[in-house]
């Protein structure tokens, strides 16, 4: 895949982090614009529209959350991946609810970040509907026919279980907060433990070792994430 032409706006107040990101993401073919604080970031946004924003939540002048809120209010439709510190689950959840697509905790591995960026870009740039059947590892989900197979075997899911899986598939590779899932499948007043129970049941049906899941991973304190779709054979083109 080629990332040339894709521009990422990196907003972080620590120069070493920006350098690292420039080098790392640059090596992957992305074009990088740097901004050391919110003001420069807003200027950069005006100057040249990037394809994705990498936002550090702990900015000196305006907090990352405030920026996200502003962008949401302005109707900005760009994928945003946030950088946050490990113990800030609440901040991460809030960022996701304010419109961020995904997150990485510091310190992070470059591969993990690259994967998140890739997924975020894919989901914004393309609808999943282009792909008839979602496949990752031994799991295949046909959203049109509503058939789920694991290692070739068909698996029967309850309506709620299917809804959860469907949402995960539609955002494959991206984290979905508990709140989002609850809202979509039940309503926002339902307790999280219902979600946990159903996810567990779902896992028991599709995972080989439910306690060490391969497909549906737990993002502790934040939500769940379905593994990315397998890359299509190099023969077909056009996909990121």
């Amino acid at each position: 895949m080629s990332n040339s032409g894709v521009r990422i706006l990196v907003i972080d107040d620590e120069p070493p982090i920006r350098k690292l990101l420039r080098m790392g993401l640059g090596a992957q073919g992305y074009a990088i614009t740097e901004a050391g604080n919110a003001r420069f970031a807003l200027e950069a946004l005006e100057a040249e529209r990037p394809d994705l924003i990498l936002l550090d939540l702990g900015l000196p002048d305006i907090s990352g959350h405030d920026l996200l809120a502003r962008w949401r209010d302005d109707g900005l439709d760009l994928p945003v991946v946030v950088l946050s510190s490990r113990t800030d689950e609440a901040g991460i959840v809030r960022a996701l609810e304010l419109g961020a697509d995904d997150y990485v905790t510091k310190p992070f591995g470059m591969n993990e970040l690259a994967a998140r960026i890739r997924v975020a870009l894919r989901h914004r740039l393309q609808q999943q509907g282009e792909r008839p059947v979602f496949v990752t590892g031994g799991l295949s989900v046909d959203l049109v026919k509503r058939i789920v197979r694991v290692d070739g075997r068909e698996v029967k899911l309850s309506p709620k279980e299917y809804d959860i899986l469907r949402l995960l598939v539609q955002h494959a590779g991206k984290v979905l907060t508990h709140h989002f899932l609850l809202e979509q499948v039940w309503d926002s007043t339902t307790d999280v433990q219902y979600l946990r129970v159903y996810v567990r049941q779902l896992r028991q049906k599709i995972e080989q070792t439910p306690d060490q899941p391969r497909y549906i991973t737990t993002e502790t304190g934040v939500g769940y994430r379905l593994a990315e779709a397998d890359p299509i054979e190099p023969a077909s083109s056009g996909q990121n």
Binding site: T87, R196, R200, Q212, T220
Partner: protein
Amino acid sequence: MNDGRPSPDALLAEAERENRGRLKIFLGAAPGVGKTYEMLQSGRAKLAEGVDVVIGVVETHGRKETEALVSGFEIVQRVETDYKGRKLEEMDLDAILARHPQLVLVDELAHSNAAGSRHPKRYLDVEELLSRGIDVYTTINVQHVESLNDVVAQITRVRVRETVPDSIIDRADDIEVIDITPDDLLKRLHDGKVYVPTTARRAVENYFSPGNLTALRELALRRTAQRVDDQLLSHMQSHAIAGPWAAGERVLVCIDEHARGPSLVRYARRLADRLRGPFVALNIETARTAGVSDAGKDQLAASLRLAEQLGGEAVVLPGQHIATEIVRYAAANNVTHIVIGKPQKPQWREWLQGSVSHELIRHAGDISVHVIAGAAEQGAKPGAGLTHVTPPRFELVPYLWSTGYVLVALGAGLLLDRVLDVTNIALVFLMAVLAAALSFGLGAALFASLLSALALNFFFLKPLYTLNISDPESVIALGFFLGVAFIASNLTSRVQRQAAAARQRARTTEDLYLFSKKLAGTGTLDDVLWATAYQIASMLKVRVVLLLPENGSIAVRAGYPPEDMLDEADVAAARWAWENDRAAGRGADTLPGAKRLYLPLKTGRTPVGVVGLDNDKPGPLLTPEQRRLLEALTDQAAVAIERIQLVDDVERAKLAAEADRLRSALLTSISHDLKTPLAAILGAAGMLREPPDGLAKDDEAELLGTVVDESERLNRFIANLLDMTRIESGAMAPNAGLNFVGDIVGTALQRTRKITAGHRVQIDIPSDLPMLNIDPVLFEQVLFNLVDNAAKYAPDGTTILLKGWADGSSVVLQVIDEGPGIPTEDLERIFDSFYRVRKSDQVRAGTGLGLSICRGFVEAMGGRIIAANRQDRSGAIFTIRMPIPQQATDMDELK
């Protein structure tokens, strides 16, 4: 001190003077000289200068000129008190304090306040005003000055009862003598310009004779001159101006229970003033003192109090022989003059018993002895709560017993008469006399002597059965018998009294010793207080409360009988005693209306608390000996209280030192744990940046691996530090909810994948374990730390097993390794922060925090975690036990 440096006392006095208000006294020789008028004039002048002046109390006595002067001043309204149906108006001290003017005019310093006022005397009110920094102008007549009281009485034949201690006069910053010639005063008297209470008309006529007035005037002027002299001296001392210093004189006045005691004390004070030295009042307590009447004891106490009031010291010493003790004390204390009263005993008694003054004169050596007449005071001197004098009751019983003894002797004598002759019979009667002396004292013994003599005469001397004596020898013999009987009675009764006194003293000493022992054994403050209260109550037969400072005020901490509520007057008195370091309450100068007498408790200089005493008998609460006993007890108590407080301080200091030690150990440990991985990272990265020659490709990869691994280790350590901070700061708000343990185990193992790369990880957790009410983030961290710990201590290739099961009302989770295990004595201590098992020679690097975080988090979620060793082989087992919440069972029905 003559070395040219200012005397410290003078400097101190001057410093104290800075904060006090200034006192100006308008001193007059007699009523009517115009003191009030002058005071008001001066006040007016100050008012014109812009000073904030108010009138506290001014007696105009209807004089128009004075009344005219009063107008224009702000007058602080007097407070009305009701005394036995009569309405009395007194100066409102509190109102003046609240108003806090710069200067207040207070007339008649010697006035006595009505009962119920805070202080019984106006001069005490003035003292309080001065201590709060308010200046005072006041008036006083010379006859009100304490030390001059009897001189004035001698001059005018009128003794004035309301007196003011000399200390006030001496402390005044200014004295103005209002002086007019006697003729002018008499003219004013006849013109009706002088206030004279109608009740004293006649006495006043004597009072205002020219001779008297001249003498009084001279007295006033002389006293003022003396004061000026003193002020000059003090000024010279405080500014180290060389001058004719006082020649180190010291006056000692000997007093006993006689009524002339106070006049002796005043004489001593005047003598001391003239000599510019201090004076001491000394009383020698002998065996005879125990037999002194209550009135005599009161008089003695009053004389001693007077000495203290006049600025001298009061000392009581025990002794056998008065003159010897006095000389001994005088010699030891550099006394230069001794004052003693003229002997008043009839000569024959003097001859019999000796005279103190004569012996003193003989043995005084270089010390001058002043023998003065001294006038007895009319009536009882009003001292601290004197009672009416009750004459000693006449007891009949001892005399009956004496008669009995004599009768017994008579009987024995009659029997022995067959065998012995008269002179020896006399000895039998002597036995009766001695018996009476031993049992009942002098009076009964003398009675027995007389009775025996009569019996001897009647029954044994010829002619028998008559009181006549035919034989001259018999008369002599009888006479000698009486003589011997008297002497024997005297000696025996004296010995008896001494023995009784010695016994009493021994008992008191024993009690004090036991009390001291009890106090030494007390550990807590409350124990000390209770022991003290009980001891004082039982030794002095009073009710006791003990108050200690609390929150800026003073509060009852112990009492015998137990009491913790005081009424308002008592609370005020206790607080006053504490704040002013002086006695207050019943029988004292301040707030005498309170139920109890409050005395400050202090060790040396520092005040520790207040003790309140009370009993049901009217009159003085304590005799002088009891007072001294109380002082001994309270001294011991104060020392014990101080000791306990010091022990507490030491404990606190020790704890603080221990906390400091721990803190620095913590810092050292953290610093080490941070620096070690950093050192590795810096070292490796440095080498990668500037590779030394010959660095192989593999080395490069290894170095990079070091950088990454150590960075991750550092990351974990910092994460633990942060977790620990959260726990310690109480900022733990576990986000609990129902969760599947299995899920969390999965995510934890996901994070430990790299750390456990060299181990085999096995999981034995059933999938149907009930959900637990836990915070997934915290619980995941607990599992992470436990697995990390296991991986650290268990050698590569060994198995780390995670086991779980439901056990009645809880879920049990175990992390089991195949490492060296934990020493038994450390099984609990490993959960302490920064504790590391130092058993093996390789000190395992890494945080000592992980396990204490586990415990902190587990317990915050309502569970328990313990460490144990495997029984089958070496290795550690960490067991977490979490309660199964009620809701979890309902969730199962969803499936």
